[in-house]
């Protein structure tokens, strides 16, 4: 196993999640393995009235300051995470060549909260009362646009939309931009803030949410035999990516290197994963081949692990089939819930931290699993991980697998 010249270094991380307003607090919360799900007053009266929200103490609007008024919450979360990631990478937007900095931020549901509000205004008060901000607050590229504007990043800037894989797709696209030489720095990640009554109820109507209304904290239980759905959440994760040789040249330490990407589609069903997991399996095998690695090299999987009956069953079978040697498996969704389009990026950041620190966080609410997997339960596990795969799957049959190795400049 060798690091390839196509390695992309993760030189900065930023997260704003239900576990905390920054990467360090999020990492600590995920390591503790305590669920963040709680009753949600904004969902009062809905069939599912609990969620995982970013704590009020980490209010992104307050941290952004003056310009926050025009930003939809999903963009606010991304801007805060992007600022953190850029500072963490030791980059200074005042001095960098902004034309060589790309921004790729995925989102699953973008500004739907504003569409809901403005639809009500239209019907209740008339067309004159519809906000001029509706369209810019609704469209999914607003997060990338605001990050670009906030940091003076003037290279390519775009959104990715692959539902719950959007954040992972953003990292895959950013990697390609770097490898193509289109940019020298990529600020990439995912964001979502769609915990609204309509969207939450929509997921409920699909049968995707946990119905443990008497036990919100125990509701998200990836890979448990008695799992019954995911818990809706909000958050953002942003990573700074650079070509490994560039990071090395400027003396930056890499959390981990992104060395392989696999992207496939199930072509099976709008929302259900293919029962045989063929798309997910192909994504995993493709990512490993892209990295020049073999399945037996993988010693850790940061699973998509949503806690839905179907995802976890199919994903467990894929892991057991492709990686029968039993790498450690975790899912952060027991702690954070499902942050939708942010999940792939948050989990990539957590995977990078696992590689950096040699710590695999436990799966919350899981005592033991019925699947033939080495799930980390109870407490975090010390493990010197060399190769890790991070899985993300989305409605529409999107499968994205990112393979990371310990950074060559770590």
């Amino acid at each position: 196993m060798t690091a390839t010249s196509r390695a992309i270094a993760v030189t900065g991380l930023g997260m704003t999640t239900p576990a905390g307003g920054d990467g360090a607090t999020t990492w600590e919360g995920v390591r503790r393995g305590l669920a963040t799900a709680d009753r949600d007053t904004q969902l009062k009266g809905m069939p599912v009235d609990f969620s995982c929200r970013v704590p009020e103490s980490a209010d992104p609007a307050a941290r952004i300051g003056r310009k926050s008024w025009r930003m939809p919450r999903f963009a606010q979360l991304a801007v805060v995470a992007a600022r953190e990631a850029v500072a963490d990478a030791g980059l200074d937007p005042a001095t960098w060549d902004g034309t060589r900095v790309a921004v790729v931020i995925g989102s699953g549901l973008a500004g739907v909260a504003h569409l809901e509000e403005q639809t009500l205004r239209l019907h209740q008060s008339g067309p004159e009362r519809v906000s001029a901000l509706l369209v810019p607050q609704l469209i999914s590229n607003t997060a990338a646009g605001e990050v670009s504007l906030d940091l003076g990043a003037r290279g390519p800037s775009m959104a990715t939309e692959t539902a719950c894989a959007s954040g992972a797709t953003a990292l895959a696209v950013a990697r390609d931009l770097l490898l193509a030489g289109t940019c020298d720095i990529a600020i990439a990640g995912g964001t979502d803030a769609a915990v609204t009554p309509v969207i939450t109820t929509g997921f409920h109507q699909l049968g995707a949410l946990s119905g443990r209304i008497d036990d919100p904290a125990g509701a998200s239980r990836p890979f448990a035999a008695d799992r019954d759905g995911f818990v809706i959440a909000e958050g953002s994760g942003v990573l700074v990516l650079e070509r490994a040789e560039d990071a090395e040249a400027r003396g930056r330490r890499s959390y981990a290197d992104l060395v392989g990407v696999g992207q496939t589609s199930d072509a099976h069903h709008p929302t259900a994963p293919a029962p045989d997991g063929r798309g997910a399996e192909a994504a995993l095998r493709t990512a490993l081949a892209d990295a020049g690695l073999t399945p037996s090299d993988v010693d850790h999987v940061n699973a998509h692990g949503t806690s839905t009956p179907k995802n976890d069953e199919v994903e467990a079978a894929v892991i057991a089939r492709v990686l029968p040697h039993g790498p450690s498996v975790t899912s952060a969704k027991g702690v954070l819930g499902h942050t939708l389009g942010a999940a792939g990026a948050i989990e990539a950041a957590l995977t990078a931290l696992t590689l950096r620190h040699g710590v695999v966080p436990p799966i919350a609410n899981l005592a033991s699993t019925a699947f033939p997997l080495d799930c980390v339960v109870g407490a975090e596990r010390r493990q010197a991980v060399r190769v890790a795969a991070s899985h993300s799957f989305g409605f529409g049959g999107h499968n994205v697998v990112l393979v990371f190795t310990a950074g060559r400049t770590s």
């Binding site: 008024w69 009362r129 901000l133």
Partner: protein, 82 residues
């Protein structure tokens, strides 16, 4: 401060995060960082709070707080009760 002044002051500080110390009768919208998008949103908010509609030609980046207040007050005096 008249009630119209107070409404405008309150909107500028709470909705648009303008620091109180920056707001004087002579401050222009541009100086307060109220750009065209913000102005559209401010006009909507004023319509709801004061019941007077500021038309596009009645406010721009060079409009001062005093001018906007006067426009609002005049409209309010002649506006039908909503």
């Amino acid at each position: 401060m008249s009630s119209t002044d107070a409404v405008l002051f309150d909107l500028l500080t709470t909705k648009f995060n303008v620091p109180e110390r920056e707001i004087t009768p002579e401050s222009t919208m541009d100086e307060l960082d109220i750009d065209s998008l913000a102005l559209a949103e401010l006009a909507l908010a004023l319509q709801e709070e004061v019941g007077a509609r500021i038309e596009d030609h009645e406010a721009n980046k060079d409009t001062t707080v005093a001018q906007l207040t006067a426009t609002l007050a005049a409209k309010r005096a002649t506006a039908p009760v909503q």
